[in-house]
């Protein structure tokens, strides 16, 4: 059975209003995150992955804002009252819909009480660059225990113990002693793991992890990914994982969203995306994966030809047109490709598939 819907994003548009013009960072994105599942988001650097994630939490930087669309949060509830227990959905009604409360996050006031109660408690985020969210002037211990105490009814000692346990689970040596260190005393990968520990401290219903393992080696990465899967099983947590590492996607994802220039190019289950990619962008992305032992003798690596278009002068029609090998003049530069459904949860935005 399909697991219940947790987040439904519909036609999301988040734009930045600069003096030089408007940056349409996210421009009509649709996808769904299911409870207890892992959704991976991939796409070229600058295509709007982080801004989409930040939109969910309503923490888009100035001068940006959500200009259109909905982010429907089907709020599950905690089984235990302790404030960090397992998540469950409401009763499932006769029509198959759950009776859980539905909140449109996009419509909430970014500074209001409602969204603040959701941040950290229901949805927490691991940021792409650890130092954007770690305070340089507070110790690691203080930062984690503050987060724990804010969202649970744990007391100081319990919070400390919980913090140590989390740091150990993300592979930080000597966690008891690390509580007193400052972020600058940690290596890049350790900072990243401190942030992961912080984000996991309250067992959120949704964990948004933006490039969570770029600063750690592959053995530590394997350990962290396993930890995420364990917590997912224990608490029914859903994960939205943004990563450039297609090896990680292959290992973790249930579903995949491929983005290009602020839009969804294609989405579907992980097996279809890797073994039956439809969108020309996805196809070339998969072709440029370097494989160990294979790239050794190659003179040059494959990259997708051309450059991301000028943000203030976007192409007409399909955004991928200027770089696409299947470009059809008169069509691809005239029509913006609609979502073409290919199956349950599977769709592609490309005119090649229009008649199917």
């Amino acid at each position: 059975m399909e697991s219940p819907v947790l987040i439904e994003i519909k036609n999301l548009k988040t734009h930045f209003f600069l003096d030089e013009g408007t940056v349409q960072a996210v421009n009509g994105v649709d996808f769904t995150i299911h409870q207890h599942k892992t959704l991976c988001v991939v796409g070229e650097s600058g295509c709007g992955k982080s801004v989409t994630a930040r939109s969910i939490l309503q923490i888009v930087d100035q001068p940006g804002r959500i200009v259109e669309g909905e982010i429907l949060y089907h709020r599950p509830f905690r089984l235990s009252a302790a404030g960090n227990g397992e998540w469950t959905s409401g009763e499932t009604g006769a029509n198959g819909n759950s009776t859980t409360e539905i909140i449109d996050l996009a419509a909430l006031d970014p500074r209001g009480r409602e969204i603040r109660a959701i941040r950290g408690q229901d949805i927490s985020m691991i940021f792409q660059e650890p130092m954007t969210s770690l305070s340089p002037i507070h110790t690691v211990g203080n930062q984690i225990t503050e987060a724990i105490k804010l969202h649970t009814d744990m007391l100081d000692d319990e919070a400390d113990e919980h913090a140590v346990e989390l740091l150990r689970r993300v592979g930080i040596p000597r966690p008891e002693e690390r509580l007193g260190t400052y972020p600058f005393e940690l290596s890049g990968g350790m900072r990243q793991r401190v942030m992961i520990a912080m984000a996991l401290s309250c067992n959120p219903a949704l964990l948004i992890a933006d490039e969570p393992t770029t600063a750690v080696d592959v053995t530590t990465q394997a350990q962290i990914l396993e930890l995420l899967e364990e917590l997912q099983d224990e608490y029914g947590m859903a994960i939205m994982l943004i990563t450039h590492d297609l090896g990680v996607v292959a290992e973790m994802a249930d579903d995949v969203v491929v983005m290009y220039l602020g839009q969804v190019a294609e989405r579907g289950d992980v097996d279809s995306i890797f073994h039956d990619p439809k969108h020309p962008y996805t196809q070339s992305l998969l072709k440029s994966i370097p494989r160990l032992g294979v790239s050794r003798n190659r003179q040059r690596l494959d990259s997708i030809r051309g450059m991301v278009p000028d943000p203030y002068n976007r192409p007409s029609g399909c955004m991928f047109g200027p770089r696409c090998d299947h470009f059809m003049p008169g069509r691809c530069d005239a029509i913006s490709p609609p979502a073409i459904p290919l199956g349950p949860g599977r769709e592609v935005h490309c005119l090649l598939y229009e008649d199917e």
Partner: protein
């Protein structure tokens, strides 16, 4: 040949395993960097984090040397010591001067380091931290050019525009501030800045970690092109082993502040001699969802080693699956196991470790 500055050490001319001196751009000898651990109100020193603990390696002119190892093993610290962003606890960093002399950068004062700062550049691991938030991109990338009187005015703007284009950023972005960029865009600003002054040695610390495979390929191609054009030398720190495999001529593997293996890239991947290297190669995720269950990943059990209180004998012994009695008693030296291939394991000759075969499978 003798090299000198105030009170630095002489560069030893008689070889002890290092290559011919004319080719060596950088020769790191017994480098140590310990950070004090303090406690209590008076911040008394109660111990030391041995972030880098007696490592020696050299880099040839025009070569790319890879630096890999567990998170926290001292790679960034080593890089920062080479650039003298840190004072050394011990050891020497010999760098070949423009006129071929080997100069120990270790004891140089800030002022004496100045002429070298433009020749030695670093691409920082955390771009968010290393870009001045109050400077627009044109200044971030252009200032080194301006300060060193390489270009000014319109010419400066053109130089910056072409640097940005080479790293795949639109020149239209020039007046924006760092916060207005995505992670990967910021990383590329750092790359453009490091390459602006035609350096001789670039320490690239996780320089491409935030880039998708296609943009990363473009940057790696650029890095290779520049190397061919200008005989650039790189030290490349990366957790992405496919990047290391593609870009590096030789690789140094570190574990808890020490070097455990050094070899030519191809050798290292095909036939590792240290059990830590084997574990590392085995953990690379396979980009195929159908292979999920089928991987022979070596899971490293046991506590992550602590550089403030490392294990006895071989630092890897609490987590090594080939451990024997001798391992916790005696520290293995870095030894030449095959020509040009060094490893620090008592049993390097006896063990048959798995590398990566040419088909990309583990073998």
């Amino acid at each position: 040949m003798s090299a000198q500055s105030t009170n630095g050490s002489e560069y030893p001319t008689t070889g002890n395993g290092t290559a011919a001196a004319e080719n060596v751009l950088l020769d790191v000898r017994n480098l140590q960097k310990w950070f004090p651990i303090t406690a209590g109100f008076f911040r008394r020193t109660v111990g030391h984090v041995r972030a880098v603990d007696d490592i020696s390696f050299h880099v040839l002119q025009g070569e790319t040397l890879g630096l890999v190892g567990e998170s926290g093993c001292g790679k960034t610290t080593a890089g920062r010591c080479i650039l003298r962003a840190y004072d050394l606890t011990g050891g020497q960093v010999f760098f070949q001067d423009h006129d071929g002399k080997m100069v120990d950068l270790g004891p140089l004062t800030n002022n004496e380091m100045k002429p070298y700062r433009q020749q030695l550049r670093m691409i920082f691991q955390d771009p968010f931290n290393s870009l001045n938030p109050r400077m627009p991109v044109i200044d971030i990338v252009g200032d080194p050019l301006k300060i060193n009187k390489v270009a000014a005015g319109k010419e400066l703007e053109d130089r910056v525009a072409s640097l940005l284009a080479r790293v795949g950023l639109r020149p239209e972005y020039m007046r924006r501030y760092p916060h207005a960029f995505s992670g990967g865009e910021r990383q590329r600003i750092g790359i453009a800045r490091a390459l602006a002054l035609d350096p001789r040695l670039v320490v690239a610390d996780e320089a491409v970690s935030a880039l998708d495979v296609s943009v990363r390929a473009q940057i790696l191609n650029l890095i290779k092109d520049l190397q061919e054009e200008f005989n650039l030398t790189y030290i490349f720190v990366s957790h992405d082993l496919s990047v290391i495999e593609y870009i590096c001529d030789r690789v140094v593997v570190m574990y808890v502040g020490k070097i455990v293996e050094v070899a030519e890239t191809e050798e290292l991947f095909a036939q590792p001699f240290h059990p830590y290297t084997e574990a590392l190669l085995s953990a690379v995720p396979n980009p195929d969802p159908r292979m999920r269950q089928q991987k022979d990943r070596i899971v490293l059990e046991g506590d992550v080693a602590d550089p403030a209180n490392p294990p006895s004998g071989c630092y890897f012994h609490p987590r090594c699956r080939y451990v024997q009695d001798q391992c916790s008693l005696e520290t293995p030296e870095l030894r030449e196991i095959a020509p040009g291939h060094f490893a620090a394991c008592h049993f390097a000759e006896e063990l048959t470790l798995a590398g990566v075969t040419a088909s990309g499978e583990l073998g």
